[in-house]
């Protein structure tokens, strides 16, 4: 007859080394400090909507049309944080600071891009308003566009998640709902009238110490119904404990 109490004794014989314990303490303290100093990994910008930011970037710099001529763009790029309550910051070529305070994303495992790079998942999304716009194409040179998704335990299987490109999942203890981060890619096109259906946020790469990469550019290409295309670049950079967006 097997004595199953042996399981308890066997497992309890395992001991974490002091070195490992100290390393975990040290890394945790370091992670906590880094979060206070740098733009923290995986931070979301919701924080119960207290710091919800709505940023309007009015495009007013010369842009080349399809005929090579110059004219001022007549669309507005709005950058906003999901869950916002309407607080806005307008800016043209000045930096628009996004205070990052808030709830951390938890339970991340590996990179959403699958290429080993570290990403900071912001809640910053973009929206365009203007006349006679047919579609908008966004392109980010470093990083990804991602979408927050929720799904149930039933769908939480490896094949489905990989197929859907949901690489990072987390759940709260006691909840049957899983939250995930789905990779959209470094570019996507959306029809003007359908913008509300696509809530794609920006995920930006960092060096492992929460310092974001230089020269991150989001290109916005707006296609009008008459065939004209206007392009506007947005530069993303790091502030002490926040990120900024400005027209380039």
């Amino acid at each position: 007859m097997m004595d199953f109490d042996k399981i308890r004794r066997a497992v309890n014989s395992i001991e974490m080394s002091t070195t490992m314990k100290n390393r975990i303490i040290e890394n945790s303290i370091k992670a906590r400090k880094e979060k206070a100093v740098h733009l923290s990994l995986k931070r979301k910008i919701s924080v119960a909507c207290v710091f919800t930011i709505l940023l309007s970037i009015i495009v007013g710099i010369p842009i080349v049309n399809k005929n090579g001529g110059l004219h001022a763009a007549n669309f507005v790029i709005t950058a906003y944080a999901a869950g916002g309550d309407g607080i806005s910051h307008n800016l043209s070529s000045e930096k628009a600071i996004f205070e990052l305070s808030s709830e951390d994303r938890i339970g991340t495992i590996g990179s959403v891009s699958g290429d080993g790079s570290n990403l900071i998942f912001t809640n910053v999304m973009l929206n365009i308003t203007g006349e006679n716009i047919e579609s908008i194409t966004y392109n980010i040179n470093k990083g990804k566009f991602v979408e927050d998704v929720t799904f149930t335990e039933k769908e939480n299987n490896r094949e489905w998640l990989l197929l859907e490109k949901i690489y990072i999942i987390y759940s709260e203890p006691g909840s049957e709902i899983f939250k995930g981060i789905k990779e959209i890619g470094d570019t996507y096109t959306v029809m003007y009238k359908d913008q509300g259906k696509y809530e794609y946020a920006i995920a930006i790469p960092h060096d492992g110490n929460y310092i974001i990469a230089d020269d991150i550019i989001i290109s916005v290409n707006v296609k009008y119904s008459d065939g004209n295309i206007e392009k506007q670049d947005i530069a993303v950079s790091q502030e002490s404990d926040s990120i900024s967006l400005k027209l380039k």
């Binding site: 014989s13 395992i14 001991e15 490992m20 975990i24 890394n27 945790s28 992670a31 998640l161």
Partner: protein, 163 residues
């Protein structure tokens, strides 16, 4: 009553690792099969504890929260196979001084994850069947079945090894 509505201090970090680090490491090591991944899972759990700063009703609630988060971390690591998936038995010699336990631990580590978690929570951490069910978000009957099947597998394999 433990209330953690404020950001944990360095002392809080040391306290939680001192108090629960070893327990989490044992669970993660058995589930993941190697110390590197187990350390990562414990680290991830502690960071979640710090960043989420949950409010606990009592120390049992705190312990259960940490175990649930740690087992979820392990589950995710295994699911995505981002981490090493093999069992490294040599780790046992580094982390357990009880040579007589190596055989049983090896068998336990080689069991399918669903049996390991249930056996660990029931036999090692002493949770009741309904508590295990709540922590793993499975039904009570599923816990019972897994315990039964897990026991059978261990009996089968341990028996063979000890003939």
């Amino acid at each position: 009553m433990l209330h953690q509505s404020v950001r944990p201090t360095e002392k809080d970090i040391e306290k939680v690792v001192d108090e629960y680090g070893n327990m989490l490491f044992k669970i993660c090591l058995v589930i993941l099969g190697n110390a590197y991944d187990a350390e990562d899972a414990v680290q991830e759990t502690v960071i979640k504890y710090l960043t989420k700063s949950p409010t606990f009703h009592d120390s049992e609630h705190e312990k259960a929260w940490l175990i649930t988060v740690a087992t979820n971390c392990c589950k995710n690591m295994r699911k995505f196979n981002f981490k090493r998936s093999h069992i490294d038995i040599s780790d046992l010699q580094l982390y357990s001084k009880d040579k007589e336990s190596y055989g049983l631990l090896e068998i336990l580590m080689k069991l399918p994850d669903k049996y390991k978690s249930v056996l660990l929570l029931y036999y090692v951490e002493g949770y009741k069947v309904d508590e295990v069910a709540a922590m793993l978000k499975i039904s009570v009957s599923a816990v019972k079945k897994r315990l039964q099947r897990g026991r059978e597998l261990i009996r089968e394999r341990y028996g063979k090894e000890n003939v």
